[in-house]
């Protein structure tokens, strides 16, 4: 209903608004652009390329960020050294790494991956570190009296106990990575959704630009609802963190 109204407003503005239709296409034109993109494969192909970069960069960030965050929380000298470095670097938007990455890796996928990883890795690391640090010491003491192994402390106590924060970090990391990827693709030649945006601008094809934007939103919504929210809801239910809503 709400989205129906929004579409109606959009259609009216594009028809009677200040900009001509080439610059502010109507919903129908955008829909046609999506259709065209899917049929000739340009949209699907660039979606696939972007998702592939995303998955590689993100998995890498998770694989490094999780153990790194745990180590920072557990080892004091690590936190004093690497921990402050991570905090400092986190204030830097990851796209700022692009110039360096281009010089180091050249104009290719590696440069974009590097930017994606710098976006996700630090956010994940910091969230995991905070989560593990906030695990009540009582859980560890209890686990020790039950004879947990040194590895089990991590896999069976610290990680599950920090799971709500780890999930927040995973989600934050995903959205940072996604932003970094889009900015990277806008600036660097090479397939991908960001590049489709750029080529839409070059061809003055605004319906293509908006079509790509919609695809980006849809992908974001999909991963959030289908993956992260689903896992999060399960954890919340188990922990009893169902939250309070105003009536």
């Amino acid at each position: 209903m709400f989205f129906g109204l929004l579409m109606a407003c959009w259609a009216i503005i594009s028809k009677y608004g200040k900009w001509e239709e080439a610059l502010f296409p109507s919903p129908v034109q955008v829909f046609r652009a999506i259709q065209r993109g899917v049929l000739d494969g340009s949209l699907t192909r660039s979606t696939a390329v972007s998702m592939k970069r995303m998955l590689i960069g993100y998995s890498f960030s998770m694989c490094i960020g999780l153990p790194l965050g745990i180590m920072l929380a557990r080892v004091e000298w690590m936190e004093d050294t690497v921990g402050s470095l991570v905090l400092g670097l986190q204030t830097l938007p990851s796209i700022c790494w692009l110039p360096l990455a281009l010089l180091w890796f050249g104009l290719n996928d590696m440069a974009i991956l590097f930017v994606v990883i710098m976006g996700a890795l630090l956010a994940i690391t910091v969230a995991v570190k905070d989560g593990v640090k906030n695990v009540p010491p009582g859980y560890l003491r209890a686990a020790r009296t039950m004879g947990v192994s040194p590895l089990g402390i991590y896999t069976q106590v610290l990680i599950p106990a920090a799971m709500p924060s780890i999930l927040t970090g995973a989600k934050l990391g995903w959205s940072f990575a996604w932003r970094a990827l889009m900015s990277g693709e806008l600036l660097v030649v090479g397939l991908g959704l960001g590049q489709q945006l750029e080529s839409g601008r070059d061809n003055a094809d605004m319906s293509q630009v908006i079509a790509v934007m919609l695809v980006i939103v849809a992908l974001g919504l999909f991963t959030d609802l289908a993956i992260f929210s689903a896992i999060e809801n399960r954890v919340r239910l188990r922990w009893g963190l169902t939250g309070i809503r105003s009536a």
């Binding site: 020790r144 004879g147 089990g152 106990a161």
Partner: protein
């Protein structure tokens, strides 16, 4: 040979305002199957002593032996019930009880069997698949007791397990604990600051003095079981212990207040707006 033998144990820890001498040269023998209650004013080191027996902290000096072996760290032979239960909110009731069994390397079937048995012992069979947050405080402590018992320990260490519960729930849990002890005859070391609770539960009550924590007195409790918290005998022994405790308590309370604070004297509460004896 005593089950647990504590030999000349001292322990200091540093707080924000200097060193606290929590335990000073404490020696104690606990027999197999005995129910010993440690009692004392807050900050007397009774929980510290329990943690030392559990092996969670090392003593600064002295030794603690269990049977023929010296305690050097935590172990499944001495399981602990913590004041807040320390249950794992990411696991179901059943999985919480199975946690220690899993560490022992038992098969899933054997784990399940044992967890069910001990959950039945604490009357929680209907809640095996519940989440921890769905349980009341009393139910959580029962899960914690089942989790500790499932390890079939040689000694059960309980650190003020009922302190955060309301009176009614607490009395129910005394019964549950009596029942369990009657069946298993596990050695129990129970820490509390509630004198009646101590007398109601223990074979022997050890009174610790505060700062430094030393053994102040010992009271064997030779009342028949089951005992109830309101029994006249329980009350009269508790009264005797309270009187002794009070002297020490006042000292430790003074430490926690400013210098000009005076503990309340027994006496009459005066009405604020008049004199005693008005309107006679």
């Amino acid at each position: 040979m005593a089950k647990l033998s504590i030999r000349g144990v001292s322990r200091r820890y540093s707080g924000t305002d200097g060193d606290v001498h929590a335990l000073d040269n404490v020696s104690l023998e606990i027999e197999n199957g005995e129910f010993v209650v440690l009692i004392g004013p807050s900050g007397c080191g009774k929980s510290t002593l329990l943690n030392l027996i559990a092996g969670l902290d090392p003593p600064d000096s002295g030794e603690i032996w269990e049977d023929e072996k010296r305690i050097k760290g935590p172990g499944r032979d001495r399981s602990v019930v913590f004041q807040d239960g320390a249950l794992f909110p990411w696991l179901t009731v059943q999985k919480n009880v199975e946690f220690g069994l899993k560490q022992m390397g038992l098969s899933p079937i054997e784990r399940k069997r044992r967890a069910s048995y001990y959950l039945k012992l604490v009357h929680l069979s209907q809640f095996v698949d519940s989440s921890i947050h769905e349980l009341s405080g009393g139910m959580r402590q029962r899960v914690a007791i089942a989790r500790a018992l499932a390890l079939e320990p040689d000694a059960l260490l309980m650190d003020e397990p009922f302190a955060a519960l309301d009176a009614q729930t607490r009395e129910d849990l005394y019964r549950v604990l009596h029942e369990i002890w009657d069946r298993t005859r596990t050695t129990i070391v129970f820490v509390t600051h509630n004198v009646r609770e101590a007398v109601c539960l223990g074979d022997r009550v050890i009174l610790l003095s505060s700062r430094p924590g030393r053994i102040h007195a010992e009271y064997p409790i030779k009342l028949a079981r089951p005992r109830f918290i309101d029994d006249a005998d329980v009350a009269s022994i508790a009264r005797r212990i309270s009187d002794v405790l009070k002297e020490g308590l006042d000292a430790s309370r003074r430490e926690e207040y400013d210098a000009d604070w005076v503990p309340a004297e027994a006496g009459v509460l005066r009405p604020v707006d008049g004199m005693l004896g008005d309107h006679i």
